[in-house]
Symmetry: C2
Subunit: 384 residues, 2 copies
């Protein structure tokens, strides 16, 4: 019999059957009335999910392409900009900034630390006149979700534009683009938005658009003005990934039907269930034990067990895909994603399998507690 | 009853049911073994379709993104480069080149002209020392497919790198990347490769890679070296559009099962059938009446009829989507695409509907001849 498969990484994430079914519909042309209706509805729904009144621009790209669009539209060679990073994706901002010739100040925290307002305040004070601050809402490599509201406030106080990577957080944890004064929020289809990878998004405040008008960095497909002008006519400057856009429309409908607040609460409960289960079997968390970090739970394997073995065994024995650590954390942590189309039994499946694999590897694991504890933690915090 | 729909534009093109079904399969992770197998097979199949021994790099983007990658990797500010254009997509090369700071010579033919070796030779002689020549194999806006082999030879003689936009031609008309000495060939998933839009490709010769090492243009996701290093390990630097890649794998399998030569012959016959049918009803062709121009047939409406009306009527009355003219040709021509998953009855459907719409618009159209003539033209030229 075909093996059952379980996708439990922090992206790509599992896609609901209604969304998969939409992908299989015949291709339509992107300048046709049918598509424009779907596309227009998607753009409205994206603004709702983003909680913004401003434009959300859509690109056919990975999330990184949309990150690049932010840098390319906000940078002229030599511009002083600041990246506050504490993991792989924060460092990606720095890599892109350097590629586009920014005079980059990189305030680099240890991977796994939670960037705090004070970190940003002191980095900005030291850096002098900074025009753009790049932040990472959910650092997928470590499981940390920062308090981006307070960080954004510090950056605004300093007179800088605030750009936030929310690729893995949008739709999973609260993010108020306009109310928190965030100029640019980047996200992608393949995380909490429950759609296959292939399209990515950027919200743009009037101030960000004005700055883009002054930027001289080289860009073409990621140019905001070109995309915005096309979107104003419900057009796209280049052939979009029509099948993925249709799928996104269905997924955003599901997400908004559940309700954003209900979704945030569900993710908080999923994270709690996962952490409580992991702790119950005696494991140490790498990601913070707090409600906000509800995107991915990063866990240290017991002494003497390599995380790479855990990841491989889950895959080979049970068809379960979780994520290894990245960079220097490879082999040191494993990560269970729980954003998007997840419920508590996905968490108990992951925990039960991890427990078995670790026990078989000879680790001292307390058997039979994790699943029950996860279900209890889930129940203790009822839905809103 | 749900209206039947007919997608007859030169991209996106209709996708075979096997390919659509593949899109609906559950999402898998791009670093998982299953995906790597599919991805590796795709890369091998792409090289076969490209007829190259060199790498074919894959990007999550529109075709234009892959065009941008060529310019961004081959340009340093002030580099002397030449674009030979005769339509909308040729001019796109010039737009991208200017965005990346090339010292651009734009040899601009009228839209609808066929670029000849002599045009390129004289343009190069006038331009002086040109490092890169950008060509358009199939100019989708006009229906012209040029003799890119002879053009490439002229560019090589002048010591320039040759870069070809083959977005709508690859898989439809013969293209020998290595044998014709073409350094860079750009294509996309959504044309003759019978896959939804979302991924695009670039073949890179060793000379092109060497030049990329010297280029200082700003780039990140479109950087060839980063992508090539990842592909060498069957990895991708950024989350790829996994569902579209799976679909492409199936589509390339179908295409190679038919055989490239058989596919080229089928496209030549489809083009012939379309042209003969159009002429039989008394219409004037805008695209050349020659076998090579087998991607899209551009047709002038009869005196007094606006092409925009034809396009709208086909859509509104019969659910048939064809393409209008672009730019100054809007309203002046209509375009019937016939690349990818097409057979002769798609052509007869398009012709029958065009005939009816034109007759109802009061045009002097000879009724009842086009379909028969198209079928005869198809039969006169047997399959290889």
């Amino acid at each position: 019999m075909a093996e059952k498969r379980y996708l439990m990484t922090p992206g790509p994430t599992p896609v609901p059957p209604e969304v998969l079914a939409e992908l299989a519909r015949p291709v339509i042309h992107h300048r046709e009335r049918d598509y424009r209706e779907i596309y227009g509805r998607c753009l409205v729904r994206l603004r709702e999910v983003y909680r913004t009144e401003h434009d959300v621009l859509m690109f056919t790209s990975s999330g990184t392409g949309a990150l690049e669009s932010a840098v390319a539209n906000l940078t002229s060679p030599g511009d002083r900009q600041l990246v506050l990073s504490a993991g792989n994706f924060g460092e990606r901002w720095a890599g892109i900034g350097r590629a586009f010739g920014a005079d980059l100040v990189h305030a680099r925290l240890e991977w796994g630390e939670t960037p705090e307002a004070e970190d940003l305040r002191s980095a900005l004070a030291e850096a002098g006149d900074v025009r753009v601050v790049y932040l990472t809402h959910s650092e997928t490599s470590t499981g940390v979700v920062c308090d981006v509201q307070s960080l954004a406030a510090v950056a605004k106080d300093a007179g800088a534009l605030v750009v936030v990577d929310a690729v893995s957080s949008l739709g999973a944890v609260p993010l108020e683009t306009d109310a928190w004064g965030i100029d640019v929020v980047v996200s992608g289809s393949q995380k909490a938005l429950m759609t296959p990878p292939g399209i990515a998004f950027v919200s743009v405040s009037p101030e960000a658009l004005e700055a883009a008008g002054r930027s001289s960095a080289q860009r073409y497909v990621f140019d905001w003005e070109r995309t915005r002008n096309a979107q104003a006519k419900l057009d796209a400057p280049f052939t979009p990934a029509v099948s993925i856009v249709r799928a996104l429309d269905v997924a955003l409908g599901l997400l908004l039907d559940e309700g954003l607040e209900e979704g945030f609460n569900r993710h908080a409960r999923l994270g709690r269930a996962c952490r409580e289960g992991a702790k119950a079997m005696g494991l140490e968390l790498f990601s913070p034990d707090e409600d906000r970090s509800a995107v991915v739970t990063a866990i240290r394997p017991p002494e003497g067990v390599d995380a790479t073995e855990v990841v491989s065994a889950l895959r080979d024995r049970f068809g379960i895909t979780i994520a290894n650590g990245q960079g220097a954390l490879k082999g040191k942590i494993f990560r269970i994603g729980h954003i998007g189309w997840f419920d508590v039994f996905d968490i108990t499946t992951a925990l039960a399998a991890v427990e078995l694999v670790l026990a078989d590897a000879g680790a001292e694991i307390e058997r039979g507690i994790a699943v029950t504890r996860a279900l209890d933690a889930w129940a203790e915090h009822a839905a809103v």
